[in-house]
Amino acid sequence: MQASKKIKMQLSCPMPKLDFEVITLGHGSGGLLTNRLLDSGVFDLLSNDLLDKRHDGAIFNLNGKTAFSTDSFVISPIFFPGGNIGELAINGTVNDLAMCGAIPQFLSLGFIIEEGLTMKEFWEILVSIKFACEQAGVQIVTGDTKVVERGKGDKIFINTTGVGQVHPQANIDISNVKIGDKIIVSDNLATHGIAIMSVREGLEFETTIESDTRHLNHIVKELLDEFGNNIHLLKDPTRGGVATVLTEIARDTKLGIDISQKNIPVDEQVYGACEILGLDPLYVANEGIFIAIVNGEVADAFLQKIKTFDHCQNAAIIGGVVEDHPRQVVLTSGIGGKRVVNMLVGEQLPRIC
């Protein structure tokens, strides 16, 4: 469904005819070439009233409680199965705002481009950005483009910063987490991280695993409409994975967390890839999922509701907040043994054997 929409979008946004194929230092100079690059269709593609003013910044009203978040994207490779750096950059900040219980509205978009990036690649990234913005219902209202010498970057880095109004029923705060709360993941773990790993130079392996990058704000809004302040905490388990997020929560709340291996949803192919690579899905990066810590009394209803959304069919209650072992995450293994789950040290590196 999503893939076919993507193709349609790309067909309806053909790349403009240009007198350059490759982005060079001059395109970041702020002068004629920069204008030519932006006029080539960037502004048209992302057009909205605020952006079209082309002012130094965007001017708008903010009402009430507001969430504000930023994220930078330096991923390699920039194109990967199931997406590219463009939509990742939009979804990333949109989801960070959603995790604050906010309705994302306005985003800034900053590019740092390494000279030599082809216009075709840049256009493809821009079209994905437009698509992701439309899906999430957000607008790019200000932006910046810089070009650095070859070797000083890695094709393209993107920064997005966003603001959004906090949902009136939301009260997301780590201090709300209490004993008896349940921990729910919205879908399968580790899919994005393994999709990226499968195309990394030197580690390529054949698979049909695609990144699950997507916006989560609409789902979160509906959940907030229904469950309001029974949702105590929302977290986006990107780098460091679910294990790192849970250990941070246990540390900061000084409460214990119990999780059960057999309830943790992982796609079979992803699970197989993790086995081969010697990686633990609990530590692999995610994009299109979130963790919700909810009042234990509404946990089952929350799970039923979340499963009605697309891409949340594998949602599961993976554990709960407990009085025992404060500041620790304890996992019950598949065979019933118990062990402590700790934070990831450095990057997760594939093992020898």
Binding site: G202, D280, R327, S333, I335, G336, N342, V345, G346, R351
Partner: protein, 370 residues
Amino acid sequence: MKFLTEYRNPEVAQRYLEEIKKTVTRSWTIMEVCGGQTHSLVKNGILNMLPKEINMVHGPGCPVCVTPLNLIDKAVYLAEEKNVILCSYGDMLRVPGSEKSLLEAKANGADIRILYSPLEAVKIAEQIPEKQVVFFAVGFETTAPANALSVVHANRLGLKNYSILASHVLVPPAIEALMSDDECHIEGFLAAGHVCTIMGTQEYYPLVEKYKVPIVITGFEPVDILQGILMTVQQLENGEAKLENQYARMVRENGNPKAIETIYEVFDVTDRMWRGMDVIPKSGYQVKKQYETFDARKKFSVNIPEAPENKECIAGAIMKGIKKPFECPNFGTKCKPENPLGAPMVSSEGACAAYYHFSDMVNKIEEIEA
């Protein structure tokens, strides 16, 4: 998943546990040789499920941990050479050398690439003929065939820019060294299933004979390990010392003859220094003379002086099973995975790192420090 989920079945695991509890009448010290088994023991929480009579000690079977400091220094030195691309398995990168790790060398600009197969390194050598490509060939008998094959392959292609920095270590001489050490009190072994998949079972009969010690070739999944422990305990309780094969779905008496043939085409046996232990006679592979143009030790004149190991590290006692990681005063305080004092803390398969990652020590220590 076939051949995986079956060996993680909680009911079957429970049955083996019950059987172990019924069988055991006194305390026994059993060593799992392989780091993969140590990892599985702690990751699945098996150590806490076993009856207290079973004392599991964790052997030297982590290739990353036992690779000598001096060799890491050599790898770092080579990686920092301008025309060298150093290729390595991922978990070697974090291992500290005397001055820095490969990861730090990479951050300083060295061209270091993480690969899964040495054949990928041969491909890079083919693609970039102006650079010297060195593969850091560490591991037990398990990784030796692929590393040897890369040399055969590079030779066939006539490549002049490919070599391996080999530091292979072998399991049977390590068991021999442990058993002839007076401080060691190991009463039974779980031998490494993957090593035996390559090498077969023959090499272990003389050890069983000589030291009258049960050896059970064991796999890596929780059910494998519990069954391996049960088989060892049954022998011990019956006063037997036999070689048994729990991992029969993979391990044949003669191993993998093609793989063994490839190993001996390229390597011959040599004395080898084990980090944390010492030089063990005939415990490693080196590149044969006829392939010396593919031997990075011969190709590049790298004379790095031996740096002393950190004296505070009790790696030897850990790897011989004399002490447990938490019996070391530096465990989790001065010595952590992000800043290891010695070998067993560096790879997730090292005994100390495995305990650190999966034990409650960290939080306890943080509490004490706070």
